[in-house]
């Protein structure tokens, strides 16, 4: 698998996929997209980079263990629901804030925070599984 062509193209491909995954994540509120599909794209990027550069390099590149990313995702997704506690609405209600930004305004909402949580959970768990599987394959080659 580790051809020169693949190794050359993989880092830029992974980078583009990661950026695209964030685009898909943020697009998700009113149009197709969202945290789940975004997280899957990001995890595929990591998996591709892992195939090209080796699992050890990926692990040092993402710095935190993938399972920690997933755990953090659950925490912020749960937290986004708890924000409705102060507004006297049921758990996980959508709360919006519109922040003026130049000529337009930026919409910040709890569904978005929740979606970011989902993104991190999917990214974390899927890349943890992918890296673990790639690791065992490497062991067999050695």
């Amino acid at each position: 698998m580790r051809t020169v062509i693949f190794r050359t193209i993989a880092p830029s491909l992974a980078a583009i996929m990661l950026v695209f995954s964030v685009f898909v994540l943020l697009r998700g509120h009113n149009e197709p997209g969202g945290g789940f599909i975004g997280g899957l794209i990001a995890a595929s990027a990591i998996a591709i980079y892992g195939i090209a550069a080796g699992v050890t390099e990926v692990r040092s590149a993402i710095r935190v263990p993938p399972l920690n990313i997933a755990g953090f995702g659950v925490v912020i997704a749960g937290f986004s629901g708890l924000l409705s506690l102060g507004e006297h609405v049921p758990y996980l209600s959508g709360l919006w804030a519109f922040i003026p930004f130049g000529n337009s305004e930026v919409a910040i909402s709890t569904p978005m925070v929740f979606d970011i949580g989902v993104y991190l959970v999917v990214l974390g768990t899927v890349s943890a599984v992918a890296l673990a599987l790639e690791e065992t394959e490497e062991d067999h080659h050695d």
Partner: protein, 530 residues
């Protein structure tokens, strides 16, 4: 054709959002689950700090238990409460609806979990923590609590799967061969059960277009009854499999004895009871008409489960496998409650499930201690433990009596209700099965007790010879482990001696199951006409 915004006045659209402020007190409905999930994730984040894990887990669990006590007291006095996520009007949003049955089960599950965590706190802790043991425990409890508190059938499916994933992880921690073997059977059959549940959900949605429990209870009577019976049959199969009722019980004795005894205790206490709870919920609350048609089937299932459970236990030489069969026998009593139904059967079945949750957890915990002292899982080689530890022999005997349903222990009261119900409907077959189950359970339990505690030594040796393999109690078992077991058995004993509040709660829980008026009202839907 698209309708443009100019022709529609937002005020003309039917309302979809709740416009009443939610009281902060209502958060007690979701907080137990939120704490479970977020706490589990947090424990995963800090899994490097091993010293923190136990303390944090216990803090979360005690907080959850405190919230659930509050929730239980509230539903006991004020009737069911509900919260629909995301401010949607039911039945659009996912509803969490709690009645006495759900709150009581959730509380019992949390208590059992706390006891198990304390029991397991010293043991092999340092080895297991690395694999996120406590996160998995929290995830398991989240699944169980979610299943007890949810008011939406699809959400129930999701909690089932959460529970299943966590239990997979717990079952193979350690990775011994026997665990892999057990996990394969457990995994395949339980996943198959939830898939059957999903098929039933698909049909139900196609039939009535809603999966909100209160909404189903409202409209189920007006639907094509033949199709509803098919759905109820699928649910009976799926939940019967989860609950390990005859004839789909084979996975339980094949797998429950394979992990560490504390994890067996958690499984034996919680998992099958979620299946039993789901049966009570669907058969009694949601589809009473279909239950009446399926009644002969449920009766046969109950009779065979009642009889074959303790008979299987008698035939075992592996201590925890024998207890696994006693768990199955207990499920038979719950099935009998569903078969009898009415004002005796439902509280009897519910109370028995609650009793079984605590008793079976304690049973596995005590069995674990016995295994640690004797260093084997074979009943024939365990003799002489009474001399080593008389406390254990008392605990075990109390549990045998409680499981068999002898007065004045906890298991007696639900069995009394069941018997009363069976006799009042002239269901002699069930009445006989319930009594024979008690007899067989006493025989099976007493035989185990006699072999493990009463005998001086191993099977096949002269009765006077002592057992050389027994380890000294102070070395073999840790103090938190014995303390946790004693506390749980004392709780079972106390509840058996003071059953009044249990009876009262069971009566309220049953009346809310039999008449969904208060339940649907709490969810904010119109009350059905029955």
């Amino acid at each position: 054709m698209a309708t443009s915004a100019h022709t529609i006045d937002p005020g003309d659209l039917p309302r979809a959002m709740l416009e009443v402020a939610t009281s902060l007190n209502d958060y007690v409905i979701v907080l137990p689950i939120v704490i479970c999930l977020m706490g589990g994730a947090f424990l995963l984040l800090v899994r490097g700090w091993r010293g923190l894990q136990l303390g944090l887990t216990l803090t979360f669990l005690v907080a959850i238990a405190a919230l659930e006590v509050q929730l239980f007291v509230r539903v006991l006095y004020d009737g069911p409460v509900a919260m629909t996520m995301g401010n949607w009007l039911p039945p659009f949003g996912i509803t969490f609806a709690v009645d006495v049955l759900g709150a009581g089960f959730a509380l019992a599950a949390t208590i059992a979990t706390i006891v198990v965590v304390v029991y397991y706190s010293t043991d092999t802790m340092l080895r297991e923590v690395r694999y996120g043991f406590y996160s998995l425990i929290m995830l398991l409890l989240a699944g169980v609590t979610g299943a007890f508190l949810t008011g939406d059938l699809f959400n129930l499916y999701v909690w089932f799967e959460v529970m299943l994933i966590a239990s997979f992880g717990l079952m193979i921690i350690g990775g011994r061969k026997i665990q892999l073997d057990g996990a394969v059977k457990y995994g395949f059959l339980n996943f198959l059960a939830t898939t059957f549940f999903l098929i039933g959900l698909g049909y139900l949605y196609g039939l009535i277009g809603t999966l909100n429990m209160a909404d189903i209870a409202r409209v189920a009577g007006q639907t094509d009854s033949a199709a509803m019976i098919a759905v109820a049959g699928l649910f009976l199969l799926a939940f019967g499999m989860k609950a390990a009722a005859f004839p789909v019980n084979a996975w339980l004795p094949a797998s429950y004895h394979t992990p560490d005894s504390a994890i067996s205790a958690l499984f034996g206490g919680l998992l099958t009871k979620v299946g039993a709870y789901a049966l009570l919920r669907t058969m009694i609350l949601l589809m009473p008409a279909a239950r009446d048609v399926l009644d002969p089937v449920i009766t046969v299932v109950a009779v065979f489960t009642l009889l074959l459970g303790p008979m299987g236990a008698m035939a075992q030489t592996n201590l925890r496998r024998a207890i696994g069969f006693l768990v199955i026998g207990g499920i038979g009593s719950v099935m009998a409650g569903i078969a009898i139904s009415g004002p005796y059967g439902v509280p009897g079945g519910g109370l028995y499930a609650l009793h079984s949750m605590l008793t079976m957890t304690a049973f596995y915990l005590v069995a674990g201690l016995v295994e640690q002292i004797s260093g084997t899982d074979d009943i024939r080689k365990m003799g002489g433990i009474y001399r080593a530890s008389s406390v254990l022999s008392i605990l075990f005997l109390v549990l045998v009596f409680a499981a068999a349903g002898l007065p004045p222990f906890l298991g007696f009261w639900p069995k009394l209700l069941l018997l009363q119900g069976a006799l009042s409907t002239d269901d002699w077959l069930l009445a006989a099965a319930i009594l024979v189950n008690s007899l067989f359970t006493s025989i099976a339990g007493a035989r185990i007790w006699a072999h493990v505690f009463w005998r001086n030594g191993r099977e096949g040796e002269p009765a006077t010879a002592s057992n050389p393999d027994l380890k000294p109690v102070s070395e073999a078992i840790s103090r938190p482990a014995i303390l946790a077991s004693v506390v749980l058995v004392a709780l079972i004993l106390y509840m058996g001696l003071r059953p009044n509040i249990l009876f009262e709660s069971a009566r309220i829980a049953a009346s809310d199951l039999l008449d969904p008026a208060r339940y649907t009202q709490a969810v904010n839907l119109e009350v059905p006409e029955r």
